[in-house]
């Protein structure tokens, strides 16, 4: 499989205002970043605020130049083959901005489609197709300023698809969306994947990344911390399966017996009355489950470490701080 995106030693810095007197002349947004996004995949980019996700999207969208390093989109250099790269990409920035709110959805899309050099009949056809796809046909002639957040975001997605791009960059597209709109949005992403489009999605939402992404890359401080399949990336924090259970009453004896089982490597309390056993293999899991059923444990579940745990483990809980 070829790569839709390839970065090698990508570095991007921003000059700081000298008047700010921070003692630094520049801030590093991306630090020797190496990244590969396979064609046809949905690739999640996870990281806290200031990690460099939007900077990377902007470089791939050609609105920002790399300071150092190589960046290729479908094998084309973003520096020297800018116009060709632009034909292959669509970008959707999150948030309320990015649309002409005094115009209708149809007028917005007509213009964006025309900017990709389509003739008028093709512009009209593409616009109708996009409105249909994002479910805005019935509201197409209403001004965008009256749209809900979810409708605006669907129009954003349609705008990003105006040029029928091979690579779609989605920069935190579900921020501020209600759960139903976010779910609809994810199903649209899934549809696009089935059509063979490559999607690079930046998000804070672990569930979103786990649900829609084939591969996730965790970045922080402009560096890649980890990358892999969101369902197996949990191995980075633990290779073990876990069994969680509720237990009413003294649990010490049960814990001791669990730890005596071969293949059980740990047992911790995760919340009052709820506990987690970590096992090294399937046999140990079966034995632990059997013992817990015998002792009257309830609400038993088995799972692998979730992406959220990996995120918190690698990036840490830094509250509101931004690097």
């Amino acid at each position: 499989m070829t790569n839709a995106v390839e970065t090698r030693g990508l570095r991007r810095t921003y000059a700081l205002d000298r008047r700010a007197k921070t003692g630094r002349s520049e801030v590093v947004a991306l630090h020797q970043l190496d990244l590969e996004v396979a064609e046809g995949s949905v690739h999640g980019l996870l990281g806290p605020n200031g990690a460099g996700k939007t900077t990377l999207c902007k470089i791939l969208a050609t609105v920002l130049l790399p300071t150092e390093g190589e960046v290729r989109v479908f094998g084309r250099d973003v520096r020297t083959q800018t116009r060709k790269v632009r034909r292959d990409i669509g970008i959707v920035f999150g948030g309320e901005r990015g649309l002409y709110t005094r115009l209708t959805a149809r007028q917005n899309l007509h213009y964006w489609c025309a900017l990709y050099g389509l003739r008028r009949p093709a512009v009209r056809a593409r616009t109708e197709q996009l409105l249909e796809r994002v479910g805005l046909v019935d509201r197409a002639d209403e001004k965008v300023e009256g749209f809900s957040r979810g409708m605006k975001q669907r129009l954003h997605l349609a705008r990003g698809l105006a040029g029928d791009p091979r690579l779609l960059l989605l920069d935190e597209p579900t921020t501020g969306m209600d759960p139903v709109s976010a779910r609809d949005f994810r199903s649209m992403v899934d549809e696009l994947r089935r059509e063979g489009k490559t999607i690079l999605l930046t998000t804070h939402d672990m569930d979103e990344a786990e649900t829609v992404c084939d591969v996730v890359t965790l970045i922080d401080g402009g560096r890649v911390l980890a990358a892999g399949d969101p369902r197996s990336i949990g191995a980075l924090v633990s290779r073990h399966e876990r069994v969680e259970f509720d237990f009413v009453g003294p649990v010490a004896e049960t814990v001791r017996d669990l730890l005596d089982l071969p293949g059980v490597v740990g047992c911790t309390s995760v919340s009052p009355g709820r506990h987690r056993v970590e096992t090294a293999d399937d046999d140990a899991t079966k034995a632990a489950l059997s013992l817990l059923v015998d002792r009257g444990a309830t609400a038993l579940t088995t799972s692998r470490p979730r992406l959220e745990e990996v995120y918190l483990k690698l990036i840490g809980d830094r509250g509101m701080a931004v690097r």
Partner: protein, 255 residues
């Protein structure tokens, strides 16, 4: 050309939704009233063509400056500037298409002035050279859009470029002989008038309203077109350089 026409149509749609942006069409009749009153009061009928042409060119040029300046700021404000730059279309062509639309709409100032002259002063402005009038208005509109695109490029780089916008209005009207004959300017200042396309355009427009033959019409139309083309090329070159610069600095989308 597709991007130009799409941008032209798009700006017309925006203007329909934002009638406040057409304020020049409100001020043009007042300017007409004022200038025609001054010519009438002074009993100088020779100044009547100036009183008719000046509000038209002032409206159209001020509209092109306004749109050129505001277009980039508004795109930044709505968060669409980065999206526009990320398309394969040339930002210069988009800008020129949109300024041309605004300029074309503001040509309605000519009809307003004509009506003011007739209704308030009983002056029926006749057009003995209609083709010349049309050609002058068309070349002047394109030249204004081309020249104003330089300003749009400056706005991409400098967010507080409003000062340029102001500098290029009244001093230019006076210098180019739009408002008063250049014979009223000091001798040493007059050579500065000719490199301004407005000088040629305004003179041609006045001549197209005069019964006598228009002298060297082709040469003068070419002068308007050539000066507009220089403006267009300068705007395009500057836009290219400026976009490269803001992509290096990372300031393209900053509001």
């Amino acid at each position: 050309m597709r991007v130009f026409t799409a941008s032209f149509r798009f700006q017309c749609q925006l203007l329909r939704r934002s009638p406040g942006d057409l304020s020049v069409l409100v001020t043009a009749p007042f300017f007409s009233l004022l200038f025609l009153s001054m010519a009438d009061q002074a009993h100088r009928s020779a100044l009547t063509p100036y009183a008719v042409v000046a509000p038209v060119f002032m409206s159209v040029w001020s509209m092109s400056l306004f749109v050129a300046g505001d277009l980039i700021s508004r795109e930044r404000g709505t968060g669409t500037l980065e999206g526009l730059v990320a398309t394969p279309a040339s930002l210069s062509v988009m800008v020129i298409g949109r300024i041309t639309a605004a300029v074309t709409v503001s040509m309605l100032a000519f009809a307003e002035t004509w009506l003011i002259a007739w209704l308030c002063f009983g002056i029926v402005v006749r057009v003995p050279h209609p083709l010349m009038l049309m050609a002058t208005l068309a070349t002047s509109a394109l030249s204004m859009a081309g020249t104003a695109s330089v300003l749009a490029a400056v706005f991409v780089l400098v967010r507080s470029a409003r000062i340029f916008q102001n500098t290029l209005s009244y001093p230019v009207y006076l210098l180019s002989g739009v408002l008063v004959p250049i014979s009223a300017l000091p001798e040493w200042l007059r050579p500065l008038s000719k490199p301004i396309f407005l000088y040629w355009g305004a003179a041609l427009l006045r001549d197209s309203l005069s019964p006598s033959d228009v002298s060297s019409p082709v040469g003068r139309l070419l002068a308007v077109t050539a000066l507009g083309a220089i403006g267009f090329l300068a705007g395009r070159l500057l836009m290219h350089q400026v976009l490269r610069r803001v992509r290096v600095l990372g300031t393209l989308g900053r509001t």
